[in-house]
């Protein structure tokens, strides 16, 4: 097989706000705007960003739980947007999802065994014996005792429930797992157990992950590559090590600087970035980050910056740090920090 496992091209999702019966124009939420990336087999791509940046909508679009307004999602070269129901079902086997909340994503009336074998039974009929064998096997894969198959979700701890969610996702032998804030609701010691499980499974089964998270510590630990989203767009996509060593986009920089670090001897120099994330109903013109950006120039207010490839294999959308053409012009406001940036790959 050649080419990436997953290829996302110019993915866009606009949600209309209410019906436009008397109003002339219907306001839309621009949840996802022109998002493109690839995921290779066995790779972990993390998508980070704050509430409302569109990261969860991307997950839903990948699973085609919602239909895109524009763009394509290709799995092994097949566009899932064009598929009819039957074909879509077959393709969904390749891609499974793990959700944030292990309490509301499990049917409280089914036993653990029924929950994790249900996806397979959607495709084929299992005898009772086959079902039990499958459940036992899946439970063992996620580090649970086979006897647990008779328990109800309410009889399990938060960590065990999240293991069930993972076992259910594994039941169809997918190549790709989309995990939307899969460890965010867990205590740190349980979080460590689940992260270890995901790393083990990736190694044993060659799984690829699209891992959506707001926790930069977790992301830095598991990601091969990281996409940073702000207000529906990817503003920076880079190999994990490069991104954390030297963020280029001013928003990435602000995000990394804001994350609390468990080291009391570290002295925090920078003032936190000011302001809040603007509304995706009426996003700022040009670069969406310009009202909060210390580096903003006139052009940032007018033109949406394109993603420009840099020398170290990353892409960045910033007129100042990654200019596509000539010098960006004078700043809109005084900067309050010093910056160093790798050279743009002109």
């Amino acid at each position: 097989m050649t080419g990436p496992l997953l290829k996302v091209e110019n993915l866009t999702k606009h949600y209309p706000l209410g019906a436009g019966f008397l109003k002339k124009t219907i306001p839309t939420i621009r949840a996802v705007e022109d998002v493109s990336f690839t995921v290779e087999a066995g790779e972990t791509l993390c998508i980070v960003g704050e509430s409302g940046c569109g990261k969860s909508t991307v997950a839903r679009l990948l699973m085609r739980l919602v239909d895109p307004t524009g763009g394509r999602v290709l799995i092994d070269g097949t566009d899932i947007a064009g598929l009819r129901k039957q074909e879509l079902r077959a393709h969904r086997r390749r891609m499974q999802m793990v959700f944030q909340d292990p309490y509301s994503s499990l049917n409280p009336r089914l036993t653990a065994g029924q929950i994790i074998t249900e996806p397979v039974e959607n495709f084929e009929r299992l005898t009772r014996k086959q079902r039990n064998a499958l459940a036992a096997d899946l439970l063992q894969k996620v580090g649970m005792a086979p006897e647990m198959m008779h328990r109800l979700p309410s009889e399990l701890s938060g960590g065990q429930r999240q293991r069930l969610g993972i076992a259910r996702a594994l039941s169809l032998n997918p190549s790709l797992i989309i995990a939307d804030e899969a460890v965010s609701a867990l205590d740190v010691s349980v979080q460590a157990q689940i992260l270890n499980l995901l790393l083990d499974l990736q190694q044993q089964m060659g799984l690829a992950f699209v891992f959506i998270s707001h926790d930069l510590g977790v992301v830095e630990h598991i990601a091969h590559r990281v996409a940073v989203m702000y207000l529906g767009r990817i503003v920076e996509l880079a190999p994990s090590e490069a991104l954390f060593a030297k963020p280029v986009h001013p928003y990435t920089e602000a995000l990394l600087a804001a994350a609390p670090v468990p080291d009391p001897t570290r002295v925090r120099l920078e003032a936190p970035v000011e302001g809040e994330v603007p509304s995706p109903i009426n996003p700022p013109t040009g670069c969406a980050f310009h009202p909060r950006c210390p580096l903003a120039v006139e052009r940032c207010r007018i033109e949406v910056p394109p993603l420009v490839p840099m020398a170290d294999g990353r892409v960045v959308a910033c007129h100042v740090r990654a200019p596509a053409t000539e010098s960006p012009g004078p700043r809109l406001r005084q900067p309050n920090r010093r910056h160093t940036v790798p050279e743009a790959n002109a």
């Binding site: 704050e50 509430s51 701890s157 938060g158 960590g159 205590d187 740190v188 010691s189 349980v190 979080q191 460590a192 157990q193 992260l195 270890n196 790393l199 083990d200 707001h214 930069l216 510590g217 977790v218 830095e220 630990h221 598991i222 994990s240 090590e241 954390f244 602000a254 995000l255 600087a257 804001a258 994350a259 609390p260 670090v261 468990p262 080291d263 009391p264 001897t265 570290r266 925090r268 003032a271 936190p272 970035v273 000011e274 809040e276 994330v277």
Partner: protein, 335 residues
């Protein structure tokens, strides 16, 4: 036993053997199994631990805000300025709460009243505790909004909570909590529901205002990063008891309790290598409905020996202003 510091003038809050139970249909949960600690004037103390360790119950017990029908503080003292506030009448307690001791909770939307403007709510808090007239209290509300750096405070005082973002609502909660210049601020996961850039702004704000007003802060959180950045001293709780307390630098440099050590190691840290398995704490937290013999962490502890399973270790000094409840603390610190 832990040497009790002389309860001199600088001790603001002195909690002794505080014990709180929750009552279920057929069982009693020992949510707090007798905890003792002090908060000095102007000090920032972090209380950390995982779900169910008793950190929020500690706050509610101090404030006497436990659910009346299902929970009760069954033992101990909470001395505030030397006076046991558990002995006060409800009326006297209401005078202290919101005035000398203020609190901020995790979810600002559920702590604010949706049918009143934020200015009205801050002014109300001011009027309950001072004899200020309505116009004076409203002016104070506007001043507080300016203090917590809400842009356009003249206009924002007449906003309703739903017209504000989560970060702004938490600023309003802080404004309300600080309006009466409390001596102690109890903040229970105040930034957990917020985005990371907003969290950084709110943490900075709390620390700045605390320094300016000289209030002591009890910072309840599950996030070791938040503790490292904001607190001077840290209390670590496990299964309803304090297992370790130390100044923040010592705690992170040389944790003396195996639970603290395990907790710190299970946080991803790129300095220890990416994409590696994280050290896990095996097992799960004990059921507090059952009596626990010995150390409650022993079943999960890599250091556990016979005595740990038989006798509960007392909190004892293991260094200057560093105490741990572990029979083998010295070895843990060396590990």
């Amino acid at each position: 036993m832990l040497m009790r510091e002389f309860a001199g003038d600088d001790v603001l809050l002195d909690v002794r053997d505080l014990e709180t139970h929750f009552y279920g249909e057929e069982s009693v949960t020992r949510a707090l199994g007798g905890i003792s600690f002090q908060v000095k004037k102007g000090e920032t103390v972090g209380v950390v631990g995982e779900s169910g360790c008793g950190k929020s119950v500690t706050a509610l017990s101090i404030l006497r805000l436990l659910p009346k029908l299902s929970a009760k503080t069954v033992g101990g003292e909470v001395r505030f300025h030397g006076r046991d506030i558990l002995e006060l009448s409800d009326r006297e307690m209401r005078k202290i709460r919101g005035d000398q001791i203020a609190m901020i909770f995790q979810e600002p939307m559920t702590s604010l009243n949706p049918v009143y403007t934020v200015g009205h709510q801050i002014a109300e808090a001011v009027q309950i505790h001072t004899k200020a007239s309505r116009p004076v209290a409203m002016a104070k509300a506007e001043e507080m909004l300016r203090l917590v750096r809400i842009a356009d405070p003249e206009r924002r005082v007449s906003n309703y909570p739903h017209e504000m973002s989560g970060g702004m609502r938490q600023r309003v909660m802080i404004a309300m909590a600080l309006a009466c210049s409390p001596e102690l601020l109890i903040a229970d996961e105040p930034t957990t529901a917020l985005d990371v850039t907003i969290q950084a702004q709110i943490l900075r704000l709390i620390v700045d205002l605390k320094d300016r007003m000289g209030a002591a802060v009890m910072f309840i959180t599950h996030d070791l990063g938040v503790v490292a950045e904001t607190c001077q001293r840290v209390i670590v709780m496990y299964a309803g008891r304090i297992v370790e307390q130390a100044n923040v630098v010592d705690l992170f440099a040389r944790p003396a309790h195996p639970y603290t050590q395990g907790l710190m190691r299970s946080v991803p840290d790129p300095r220890r290598g990416r994409q590696r398995r994280l050290p896990e704490i095996p097992g799960i937290v004990p059921n507090l409905r059952e009596p626990i013999v010995g150390c409650s962490f022993a079943p999960r502890c890599p250091f556990a020996i016979d005595i740990c399973r038989e006798k509960r270790p007392p909190l004892r000094d293991v260094g200057s202003s560093h105490a741990a409840a572990c029979w083998r603390a010295e070895e843990v610190m060396g590990a």
